[in-house]
Symmetry: C3
Subunit: 252 residues, 3 copies
């Protein structure tokens, strides 16, 4: 199976062209769209969506990730192999959370033009490189034949693991389309706690339904991280928060 | 086949995660997206889209419907079996039009955790309950094994069936993305009639092309209900209409 | 394989109904969405997206194209057969670029009601005519059985082929969702040139990365046509350009 993640949007047909290239090389391969509505060139957004989704995919899924502001420049394209999955992406940080979470069995810089389309444009490597490479992988070529081995460093700690009574400092690492804010606080079990962000304090609850409409609520989201929402409102706008905005968690 | 209807949008990867869960449990099952752009938590919108689409799906389609403002609270999840289809949805009215239109052969409250993911989050039952249950159904488990039998009442008459010369009162039950207004007037054959809404009167026509740009047109829409549009305009905005806005139909 | 191109959007379930009709008639046929977010009734936009995408699809793909302001009026529905593909569309210019680019082996006006749904609405021929016809074609019926032969004229030259030192006049034929402007200048190899549009002059470069943020860049886009962008900006808005806006290319 191939899973696709891009910022190409739905209107212009770019994603369809990628799927057409894939189907021509590897007919019948199932394709699931993770998202094509990543905010243009927003690598932080893409890397979180990839990380939160990939663990649910079947073994042998090939992830094709094209959020690529450097297309046409000297940036590399890399392929990573974890125990269960293969990831293709530009070498721009998009795979940082995957690198952080999983052991990497193999990594290559994708350079073997044998698996590219014949004509390589300067602006659409999704079509000309990523899609044919993914389709050839799905067809059974050797991972190592894609190019030259590359060693990638695990990024430093991204999550703040919360345990015991204490105060913790973290920040916003994802904002969903409703304006809900996802922090990097990772909690194993819910417990009494207070979250502070932009001078607003709120207790840790269980779900949206615990508060009234228009009120702030903090809760452990579906990715296991603490999230901040306004019930039927937009926390991003009300708090004027953004990626990187700091937050404090006080366990009681 | 599985058909999905949610308000999760295209950006955050939630729908992809549901499909990944489905593919893991029931590889190869085809999935059709009915819509993921239902206005957030708009059950009225979701129930119309489901009703107007479901009749065209092949026998044995399983409909997974997650517009679920009550997620994480005590609301029930129900499964319905009609002659041709199975429907999974929260017990919040989303299935009212289906209940109204079709005879229900079987209904259960979905409680059997054997068919859920192991960890159930408070905010993403689409991933943790709806998807695995649908995939297990597609894999062939018994409908009744999902939980405990439940008896659901047919909602009172929703449509106004139009026949003979008379005046009829109805209201708006759906508004599409172009601002076209769908009424609950059901007509079998077109005949001379006048529609009144918000003090605007218009004759019943056949299609958009019957009027000039910017003019109102009422016609029998593709669902067999009378609709109101402005040719190349937005009837919702111009009339300041909403779900429930009254309309009058005078047959001549 | 069937490929779909419409302006139906993602919200109202229209596309899903088309796929349901297709699946009922021809179970298991793969469907790829080219786009359903064509600006409502924008035939110019649709014809470019179709042209730029179709060459990458496998042989025997059937393209179902429904951008159809004339639905319900006397406009014809046509089917075209090229060497590799079949195209279904209203006779409204949507296929002009396909007609221009490919030799047509066969063309028919689609009139055989045997392959339509039984009830034909006035507003949703995508469901009632296009989808069942495409599904029957995919199931193996004879192309000629769709209706009566029709002869379609090749449109006059659309592209400006650039060769040698000279000045060329062209115009904007597509605008993507980022506001990038696609001209009808077709260049085989990049060479020193200057592009002028709305009194703004810019050299021909290779890719976005060649200029600083906020600067104009002209380059050969992924379709082989010269495009104008503002790096991380919106050229359409800044230039107040539209479909048909003139441009001049001076080869040096």
């Amino acid at each position: 199976m191939i899973a696709m993640l891009t910022d190409f949007g739905a209107r212009d047909g770019y994603v369809a062209v990628m799927k057409a290239v894939i189907s021509t090389i590897c007919p019948g391969i199932p394709v699931i769209d993770i998202s094509h509505d990543i905010s243009p060139q927003n690598i932080a957004e893409a890397k979180f969506v990839l990380w939160s989704a990939c663990r649910y995919f079947p073994s042998d899924t090939i992830f094709v990730c094209v959020v690529d502001p450097g297309v046409g420049t000297e940036r590399k394209i890399i392929a990573l192999k974890t125990k269960h999955h293969i990831f293709l992406a530009p070498d721009n940080g998009l795979l940082d959370l995957v690198l952080h979470e999983y052991d990497i069995e193999n990594g290559v810089e994708v350079t073997n033009k044998k698996y590219f389309l014949k004509h390589i444009s300067h602006t659409f490597h999704g079509r000309d490189i990523f899609s044919p490479v993914a389709a050839h992988l799905a067809s059974g070529i050797q991972f190592n034949s894609l190019g030259t081995p590359v060693k990638l460093k695990k990024p430093k700690e991204i999550f703040v693991t919360v345990s015991g009574k204490d105060g913790y400092y973290g920040n916003i690492i994802y904002i969903d389309r409703f304006g809900n804010l996802v922090t990097n606080f990772k909690v194993e079990n819910l417990r009494a706690a207070e979250l502070k962000i932009k001078n607003v304090a709120m207790p840790l609850n269980t779900t949206y339904g615990d508060v009234n409409e228009g009120e702030f609520v903090a809760y452990t989201g579906s990715s296991g991280l603490i999230e901040i929402a306004i019930r039927n409102g937009n926390a991003r706008q009300v708090l004027n928060a953004d990626y990187g905005t700091g937050a404090e968690l006080i366990i009681k």
